[in-house]
Structures are given as C-alpha cells and as structure tokens.
Symmetry: C2
C-alpha cells in the first residue's frame, strides 16, 4: 500500500487532529469531568480526582525543578500507596520513565537495577528504607532521594533530604507537564527476574500503556466508576496497567500496604469494592481465611487472576462467595495481562470441573493485541489447533514492549520474526484458546513472583559444600509453586537442609529461597545436561 | 522533548511491537474468539461472526479483483442492511475508502458526490435504484455497479452487471486483506451538507475510527455482547462508528431498512435489543407510537441521542418505559458523537425538569478526545465558564478528521490554530459542561438531517417569480426543525405557497423542501445583509 492520490493530498497531521496517545490524558479528563469524585482511598485519607491531579502536577513540576528531563529514570520503592499511584502520572508528565522496583528484592539486585536503569531519583517508602540504604550504598548512582511520608508506614530514619509531601509543596499545582511528542516514548521500565542471571529491563511506551489500559476494561467488561482494591503490586508491570485503567473509568483506587485477608475483607465491605486482581495465591489466601471475615461481603465483586491457572476448588469457593473470576495471562513484556479466558455464556451450565478446566486455559488475545499464536519457534509456523501439539506462545501488536534496556541482543532475539517470543510453551485448542503446558525456561512462579532457577542455583553453587545444584518448581497449594533444590555435595563435605536454607536466606530475596532441599544424584543427558523434567517429576512425587 | 539517551537506543519499532490501529482488527478478533455468535440479524436471516468475516473477505477480494486499489473510493447507497455493514469492513480491507451516501439526497447531489469523491464502485440497494440511475446518468464517472440483492427490498430493475451475492461469490473467502501500512490512511469519506452550496467531503482515518469506536463504548459504559438495533443511518458518519463499536464488543447488529415504530418495538422484543441510537425525532416517534406496541418491552434498553437536546417530556416517557437516554453531541468532522453529557449519580434525585435541563447539555469530551473548549474564535482563548458567555465549540485530538477532500482552504480554516472549529456556538457551565446556544451558520437540523439554508435559497432564487429568499429553521415538535422560507416576489409576478413547495420538490431532496412559505419583507442590516435572527423569531411566533 503506498501513498496515493486524493486522500494523501492536503490532508496532513496538524495539532488539531493528531496527538500522541498517553494514559496521562485519562487523569486530566477525570479531573475535568469528575473533579469531586473520590480517586484514592488510603486508610482514613480520601483524595478527589482534582486533588490527585493537582498532586501529580506538583510532583511533575518538583521533579523538573530537580533537573529531571525527558528520558531520565525515576525509581520508586513502595507498596500500593497514594504516592506510588501518583508516580504513575507525575513521572510520565515530565517525560521521564517510571521504574517501579519490586519491594521483595534484596539490596544487591536493587543496586543493580538502580545502576542499570540509571535512576536519577528514588522515591522510597519507610518500610523499605533499610534495603534501599544498603542498595544505594552498593550502587554507583548519585540519587536524589525522596522519603515518602505515609502515616500507615512503620517508622524509619529518613534516607534523603526531603519528604514526599514537602517535595510536592515545592511543585507548581498548575504545571501543565512536558508534552509527550511521540507516543513511542518510554513510559516505564520494569525489571523482570528473567531466567539468566541479572534481571532485564523491559521498556514500555505511552502508546502501549494507553491501549492496554483500555484492553483491560474491554477484556473485563468494565463500566464507569469501579472501586478497585490494590491487592496486586503496582511494581508488577505497573499494576498490570490498572493505575491507568481505573482512572480512565473515573473509578476509585483503594490502597493497601499489605496483602492481608482481614484488611482485604474489611475494605471490600467498608469501601464497596467492585474489582481486584491478584495471583492465585491471593485468591487462595482469601478462600482459606476465617469464614467470619466474609460475613456481609457485598456480592458482585470481580477478581482477575493471572500467573497460574486458578484451581477448581478456589473458583468454586470464590463463586460461592459471589466473586466472579476472570483468568488472564501475560508477561511484563506485554504490559501485564493481554490474554484472557473470554467466557462463553453456554459454558455456564457445565459441571464445576468442566468449567474449571475451561477457565484454566489462558485463552485468547485482548482486543488491543493484534496477534496471539502458538508457534514452532524454528519454523515460525503455527502449531495444529488440536490441544496437543506444543509450541511457543508468541505475541504481536501495540502492547508488546519497545525492548530490553541496553540489551540489543536480547531485544532482537525476543522480537525476531515479527513476533515477541514469550518463552512459554502451550497448546492451542480447536476453539482457538491457548493453554500453557510448560515453561521453556524453567522459571518458577511462587506467589505471583517469578523466580529464576539459574539465579538460585548460582547462589547455591557458592556454598562451600555444594558440588552440583539444580532448582525446579515444586507444586504448592498455597504458593502455586516453590523452589525445590536438588544438590550433590563435594566429597568429604557435609551440609543439612537447614544449613543450605540459611545460606540462601543470607544471599537472596526471601521469596526465592528453596523451601525444599533434596540431596540426590542429578540425572543427566549423554552430553552432560541436567534433565530438569525428571527432577520436576521427583519434586512433584517425592 | 527530544530523543534522548538510553530509551531511544536499540528500541526501534518492529513488526512485533507496532501495528497501525484499524477497526478491521475488531472483526478479525470477533471471528476468532466468537465465531459462532450471531453478528447480524436481518429479517429471518442470521449471520455468525465467522460468516460475516468470510463475506467481508470475499467482498474485499472481489473488489481487488475488479481493480480497486488503496486510496480508491467505493460508494454505497443503501439502508441499514447487512451489505452496508459488510462494506464497513470489506472496503477498508482493500485499502480503499468507504463513501456511504445519504439515501435521502436527490440525484444531482448524489452525482456531485460520485464525481467529487471519484467513486470507482457503487453498491446500490434496489430501493434507491431510480435515484442512483439518474445520478449515474448525470455523473461523469465510469462506475462498476453492484446491485445489492436484499430479500426485504422492493423490486427494481438491476443497474449493474452483477448482484452483490454473485459478486461475493467471485471473492476469495480466505483473502487476508491489503495491510494498512499507516493508521493515518483514509478509511471513510462522508459528505456533510455543509452550509455553503456543494457538500464537503469529510475524510476520516483508521486511527480515529479505531479510537472513536472505543470512545463510544467508554462514554456509554458498554459491556460485551450488546444487541444493537440499527435505527441510526449507517450513512451518518458511518453510523457514528457503531459498525466498529458493536463488533469490537462481539455484539449483534439488528438491521432495519426503515425507521418504523412498529418494526422497532417488534425487534426490540423479539431480538432482545439492548442499545439503539437516533436523533430526538426517532425517540419522539417511539414515544408517540400507539401504546399497545410497547407491551412486553424488555427493560434496561439504552438509547443514545444526538443532534438536538432531548425534550423533558421525551426523557420522562422513555424513562417510564425503562429506556435510559444518553445525550451526546458531535459532527461528521469528529466521527459522529464525541461529546457526552456524562451523568453524575447525585443528579438522579433531582426533579424531572432539573434532570432534563442537565441532560439537555451537550456535556464533556469523550475519553478519546484530547481537548474540548468553547473559545472566542478571534483570540482563541476559552470563554469564561459562567454558563453565559458564548463562544465557538472547538475540538482537538485523534478523532478529528484528516480534513475536507480536495478542499485545502476549508481544511486549513477548519483546523486553524490547533483546533477544529465546529461552527457551533455554546456556553461552558461552571462544572465544565458545554451547552449549545446557537449555530453560527444557520444550519437547520430536521429529523436528524442537516439542511443548508443557502442551498435551499439557491433553488428558490431559480423560481421565476422570486425576488429575494431567506430560509431559517422553524421549531417543530416532530422534526425538531423544518425549513421556513421567507420570500419577496418580483413586481408583477405572483406565486402561491403551493407553487413554491411544488417547485422545490422538483429541484431538491424532499427533506429539504420548506414546510412553510411566508411572503413578507426581509429585514436587513444597514449594509443590506438579511437579518436571519429576526426571521427565526417570526418563524417561531408567526
């Protein structure tokens, strides 16, 4: 298709008819149309859309005053609190890139992220002041640090020179923001645990964030004014784009510092929550909480889950509580969920087991995804839609990342052949629904967190007694999966399970520490490669 | 903001992570995910999404075989039937531009449109064969004509060499379409009556069509699987983008050849209609229809109206029938409605009159509109938000047209200063809601159709007895407005009201014919300009 004739003559783009897509637009509109609606709830605090927008303008203005310019990185280390939400607008409004850091990481990894992402500013919550202090000490960055003053946070020594509220005071409440001149500009940097050593920095852009914010509402059938409970970490691919989705719908963000069933149920009741997201672990936690907590729960609450298929028992209990579950799938590289197990009305009447089996499937592409295929990565041809032939899940479209920061090789590999290669292995059913069968790279998903087995192994190998180490996923009713380590020891050396676990605790984030350690020979191929599929079987049936 | 540093290095667009936005994508997905859902209902006919998609692929393929290439124009003259819906996908899938022609126009105007738009193909419904034949005879185009064979249409002599169904048979059901290489490519050409002589061709693009399709669902709070009754003409700015909105939501399109209350109520009941659109005239017609037609009407139907404020009595009766009305505003130049009187829950408890007054306001921008302002067009500064100061409504954003076809002067004028100038005069209330006060260009809106007074006057001036003519809007309970002609006659000449009306009937589309003719002196300014505001007053209070 080439430019042709009458439709390409004297019909150019102008400021009147073309503007880069950016989710910032959603907040501006919300503040215009529903200035007095409650945008954010945090404990006893209530902020209207006008107040939140003004705070975001102040934040952007204050950052600019501190020298932040387009293309700079602003990092945040915080739970789901108002400041973290505000950073999702205040930072992009400067043209800078938001780097929301996983609060469960250890200091060394955080230091790596600050260095690799070239952070210029760090907003830090008091709860994470200690780990941040260690990370900053290890990092080579000259950071401007803002201490978030959250009344619900534990006490901690300030790290920086200014508190968040004082910092906002320095900003202009009328600041209009630095215009985004191109929707392809980066909006966020999110580190995935990856599978090979150091984390990779996924770079997403304004266009994709705008579109997947809409993708969420279309896939979930959302209507105006949802009340959204922040059970999902905002540092998980920007809370799956929900800081933008809920704002576009002029809804209410109910903040939550910690995933705690009592707090969750209490907020659901007191704030009239309509929607929440979370890994199956979170659903499981709610299902297993004391029954009296659920008394008086409003019906019609909707839950979106991803990361692993929700078990039938969890679906059944949730449905019994009047909570409808939507199963989605995605990765940081595709802005969080962008595949949905889109429901068919005729499935409603099936027995629970069959419904659960249908719901366990990852499903079909979001409306804003242009292509979802299961392909043979060598030939790049789709597998048969027989529900049996395994291939790699591939994505194409505007909600695929720009690439990995400062990693052209990984970027090129992951986007080769016109598709993003997810690394997840799946089948495609005759009805076109995709179902994951395995992960091609052995990643473990525990409580919604990705754990790289190679990373854990590299620590184990540092233990003086360890000869060989292989880590695989062990199914777990609560966490979904936990890391299980298989070890052989050096001759003449000894170590107990507790020794190994203690060593790991000192050398990695707590959630990555193996829950099980097995001392056993490691099965190998003829060329000496460890056969992890055999170990997974052993972990499953010890 | 300039390209800078790490986020603009090795992070280019690739086929994996960037694809032009186009509403064609919505149909492809619907056929993938819900192949067996009913997409289209027309009389006894039912088409699933897979069937409709296959028919659209055939249509596109058949058009390409006939030499249609990107940038060509394909015109349609048809009521709201499946072929018209299919043209909204089959035509853009070739890269060509869809020109849906107003079926109420006279042959001369249709001939002008075919010529000016450089149509290559015309799809024509038998009901409009006669006017099409006359238009084709008058036009200089060498058109390939396809006769739509609709079982519900009246009999007519075929105009072309092939019927629509036979034409589809020549197409490849697996045709993948010509890829749209740029979302700025034109998707549709829609002629507005304009206000000065010949109609202007509004050119819209794939990006805008995609976005306003989403804009509709966000503004109206739509959820998956609506059942949409086609009371609104598809030739009105592509049915306000609803051929794309409803498909994106995997809903059902219920076709309707003619706006007839008995047929509408019957379909609402038999097909479980959930949504429909129409000018207040349509609502009025439904309200005034025999009450027995409404028996058994399902509740929860939603109506979107635009073109004039819905009167309080209509709102009250509709609400009594369980039909909720959403009031929107727009123009062909902004893809149909893109302003909505977004409702606030706290208004629900107000008395009917106050609610109607609030609902009569045009409202606020759609989510996909970047700017809506009421401005002084000379200084381009916003008016005070006092609900009193009048200015011109201006739009900015991605759902503003590319411009007017082959009319660089009008394009430049209408998009000057970074805003689209609507020509509508309005105030802005303290809450930011816009309300139209007058039209700056005297346009008459009758039954949802724009009538250019200058065009009607130019015909009146051709009558041998007419000396001076001025046409203004006269309020009408049924049509909203009707044209009222004020005439002075030449010395020694005479003519009756019936003479004039008969003369008009022979020389213009029926809906443009003045309903009232007044022989009277014309008030003028000192410089000789006719003072239409005085005539409007006389028309209102004869």
């Amino acid at each position: 298709m080439t430019a042709s004739g009458i439709y390409d003559t004297d019909l150019e783009k102008t400021p009147a008819n073309h503007e880069p897509l950016s989710p910032i637009s959603f907040l501006k509109r919300a503040a215009e149309v529903y200035p007095n609606r409650t945008a954010v709830i945090h404990g006893l605090m209530r902020l209207t859309y006008l107040e939140v927008f003004t705070r975001c303008r102040r934040l952007a203005s204050a950052l600019v005053s501190k020298g932040v310019t387009p293309g700079d990185t602003v990092a945040v280390l915080a739970p789901n609190i108002p400041a973290h939400f505000e950073a999702h607008y205040g930072v992009p409004m400067t043209g800078a890139v938001l780097n929301a850091i996983n609060t469960r990481l250890d200091a060394a990894t955080i230091a790596f992220i600050l260095d690799h992402g070239e952070a210029k500013v760090l907003l830090v919550d008091p709860e994470f002041a200690a780990v941040a202090k260690a990370a900053i000490a290890e990092s080579g960055r000259d950071l401007f640090i803002v201490d978030i003053d959250d009344p619900l946070a534990p006490e901690a020594e300030p790290l920086g020179e200014i508190s968040y509220e004082a910092f906002l005071e320095t900003g202009d409440p009328e600041f209009s923001g630095i215009p985004i001149d191109d929707e392809w500009r980066a909006i966020a940097l999110s580190y995935t645990s990856g599978t090979t050593g150091n984390p990779k920095g996924v770079v997403t852009h304004h266009r994709g964030a705008y579109l997947n914010a809409i993708g969420n509402m279309m896939a979930w059938g959302m209507t105006p004014h949802p009340v959204y409970l922040w059970t999902l970490p905002m540092f998980h691919c920007n809370g799956w784009c929900f800081p933008w989705t809920i704002t576009a719908l002029n809804g209410t963000h109910v903040c939550l510092r910690k995933v705690d069933p009592a707090a969750i149920y209490a907020l659901m009741k007191s704030e009239g929550v309509t929607h929440f997201c979370g890994a199956p672990t979170v659903l499981n936690m709610l299902v297993n909480a004391p029954e009296e907590l659920r008394d008086g729960l409003p019906s019609g609450i909707k839950a979106m889950t991803a990361g692993a298929a929700p078990p039938a028992a969890v679906i059944a209990t949730m449905e019994g509580m009047g909570i409808a579950i939507t199963h989605t799938y995605g990765l940081t590289e595709v802005y969080g969920p962008c595949v949905v197990c889109s429901w068919h009305g005729e499935w409603d009447d099936l027995p629970m087991d069959e419904r659960a089996a249908l719901k366990a499937r990852q499903g079909v592409r979001y409306h804003v995804v242009e292509g979802l295929e299961v392909m043979d990565p060598d030939t790049m041809t789709p597998v048969a839609t027989d529900g049996e032939t395994i291939g790699e899940i591939m994505f194409r479209g505007n909600v695929v990342m720009k690439g990995y920061l400062k990693n052209p090789t990984a970027t090129k590999d992951s986007l080769s052949g016109g598709w993003f290669h997810s690394g997840d292995l799946a089948v495609k059913h005759p009805d076109g629904y995709v179902e994951i069968r395995d992960r091609s790279k052995d990643i473990i998903i525990s409580g919604g967190e990705n754990i790289s087995t190679i990373e854990v192994e590299s620590v184990l190998y540092k233990h003086p007694a360890v000869l060989e180490a292989a880590v695989v996923a062990k199914p777990d009713d609560y966490w979904g999966e936990t890391p299980c380590a298989f070890l052989t020891l050096k001759d003449g050396q000894s170590a107990t399970e507790n020794d190994i676990i203690a060593f790991c605790r000192d050398n990695m984030a707590k959630f990555k520490v193996p829950k099980t350690v097995v001392f056993d020979d490691l099965p190998k191929t003829s060329t000496g490669k460890i056969q992890k599929f055999i170990l997974r079987e052993r972990a499953r049936n010890p």
